[in-house]
């Protein structure tokens, strides 16, 4: 009920987390309102009661009341702790993507969003996701800071050049959900919009098969009309079969000469083999230890090869900083990750 009154001040709640968010927001709003009304009411009552008039004098003896002061210190302290705990619990839900999430890469550029699927298909300013399945975005930027903001899902994360950040949601409502860039990025900042199309499982299944979705027909609902035929896909210019990210990465790892030093099958080479390194622990030359090599580590290893040198290897790898684009890097890492 209390949440419903606030509905009009919020965008549609497109996920369960968004609903939880709305409940928290309602709690904050109503608690604040109580406080605010209390303060203003006291002010108004005192204003009327103690206004200056003939014969009225101030009681100059009142200058404090320790029990009262303790009460109005302790109660807010307890309340903000409740707010913190609730807010933090909600936040954990908002940032912890379930293990079975569909993964999509989002790259911000002045001034557009590019979305990549693992099979190599990529879209500008639109992205298709299934409803009722968690979707995780891995975000980065080609130039300056951007921020990936989907109000209907109540999620937001900055796109930071040179790094990966993540955001996830599980859409429960089909349809179009607007994406804003929420970090100022220059001239067309306010024009850097994209759309998340949350589609039915049926359409998603077809999408996975490689068929294109005509987002203009999404409203009509029928899967047959929405997903284009392979022929129509072809005629729309999607002719060449996209190469999956792993395969793109395999090509890049070969063409950039990585394989000269790094085997992909576990054989010892000049450098560590790429096989199985992702997720595995490693000892460094300086004695440090890393529990599991994650993407940001692998990225660092490509861009700053000797920042953390693996034990037993010399500092001889040149940097590939600036020689691979974000898109290429994503593909290479995807491939390395696949070498189990």
């Amino acid at each position: 009920m209390l949440v419903d009154i606030l509905r009009s001040t919020l965008p549609m709640a497109g996920s369960d987390v968004a609903r939880d968010w709305d409940a928290f927001y309602a709690f904050l709003t109503w608690t604040s309102t109580i406080f605010f009304v209390g303060v203003v009411a006291a002010m108004v009552i005192f204003t009327i009661k103690y206004r200056h008039r003939a014969g009225h004098k101030a009681d100059t003896e009142v200058h404090g009341n320790v029990p009262l002061e303790i009460v109005w210190t302790v109660i807010p302290t307890i309340l903000v702790m409740v707010v913190f705990v609730w807010g933090y619990a909600l936040y954990r839900d908002m940032v912890t993507a379930p293990g079975d999430s569909v993964e999509i890469k989002a790259i911000g550029k002045q001034w557009l969003w590019q979305f990549q699927y693992d099979d190599g298909r990529s879209y500008t300013n639109k992205v298709f996701v299934p409803v009722n399945r968690p979707v995780k975005f891995i975000i980065t930027s080609e130039d300056v800071l951007h921020s990936f903001f989907v109000p209907n899902m109540r999620v937001k994360k900055d796109a930071v050049p040179g790094r990966y950040t993540t955001v996830w949601f599980e859409a429960t409502a089909e349809g179009a959900h607007i994406v804003y860039c929420a970090e100022y990025c220059g001239t067309q900042h306010s024009g850097m919009l994209a759309t998340v199309y949350a589609v039915s499982p049926e359409i998603w299944r077809r999408f996975i098969q490689g068929r294109e979705i005509d987002e203009n027909k999404l409203a009509s609902g029928a899967a047959d009309e929405v997903t284009m035929s392979a022929a129509a896909t072809e005629s729309k210019g999607g002719a060449e079969r996209p190469i999956s990210l792993i395969d793109q990465g395999r090509g890049l790892v070969a063409s950039k000469g990585c394989v000269a030093c790094h085997s992909v099958d576990g054989k010892q080479g000049i450098g560590p083999s790429l096989k199985g390194i992702h997720g595995a622990g490693v000892d460094f030359a300086n004695g440090d230890h890393l529990e599991a090599r994650d993407l940001n580590y692998l990225r660092e290893a490509i861009e700053f090869p000797n920042a953390r040198l693996v034990k037993g290897y010399g500092p001889m790898m040149p940097t590939f900083r600036g020689m691979v684009s974000e898109t290429e890097l994503t593909a290479m890492l995807e491939y390395i990750k696949s070498l189990k």
Binding site: F304, N306, R308, T319
Partner: protein, 218 residues
């Protein structure tokens, strides 16, 4: 201006103070407050230094090898000696020993010049090698260590900022020296000498940290 200085015995002080001592204590606190903000002023560079050192330890280590610790050590000795002469100058003023004050001020200035000369040779040597801040870095010997350029960025920023402080200190010392030669300072009034001293020791203090972290422990 309209404020006539007040007199306290034979010492003069500004009208809004109670006494010359009151003025002295207040001025000294002013300098301490100034030094407090100086510490904070240098702090971002130290934070940046440790951030990137933590992120790229190997690059940091490799880059630090290019600095000549002997030059750094020489400058450390120079600055410590200048702190000594500065302390002696203050002592000269406190004991109304004009000659001791003037000679030691000149020595301090000379040592400060020496410091800058050493720094000049270090910088030009690096420039010849193509070691500039990251954006203009052309040195090729550290190809495997891309973050080494950041080391030199921070090196230039830290030593450059410190160098500006040395220059500023020298300017103030020249002014104090001029007044000292006119005989304006004695056991009753030496506030500017003491304040300059505090500042100069602080400049030394910063270098005491810069030397090991840049030259020795990279």
């Amino acid at each position: 201006m309209a404020h006539a200085p007040a007199m306290d015995g034979n010492r003069q002080y500004a009208h809004h103070f109670l006494s010359a001592d009151h003025e002295f204590e207040t001025s000294k606190q002013g300098i301490w407050l100034f030094l407090l903000q100086e510490v904070l002023f240098f702090s971002p560079l130290f934070v940046a230094y440790y951030v990137f050192r933590g992120l790229h330890p190997a690059d940091w280590h490799a880059a630090a090898q290019l600095l000549d610790w002997r030059m750094g050590a020489l400058n450390t000795v120079i600055l410590i000696c200048s702190s000594l002469t500065m302390a002696l100058a203050v002592h000269g003023a406190q004991t109304s020993n004009k000659k001791k004050l003037v000679v030691n001020l000149i020595l301090t200035l000379g040592l400060a010049c020496g410091f800058l000369v050493v720094k000049y040779f270090e910088y030009t040597h690096k420039f010849h090698m193509g070691i500039y801040p990251a954006g203009a870095f052309t040195y090729e010997g550290l190809g495997q260590y891309p973050a080494a350029k950041l080391y030199f960025s921070i090196y230039y920023a830290m030593t450059g900022l410190h160098g500006i402080h040395v220059l500023g200190g020298m300017a103030v010392m020249l002014w104090v020296l001029k007044r000292a030669m006119r005989g304006e300072f004695n056991a009753h009034y030496y506030t500017p000498v003491e304040m300059t001293g505090l500042y100069w020791h602080f400049v030394d203090l910063v270098w005491i940290y810069l030397f090991p972290i840049l030259y020795l422990l990279g």
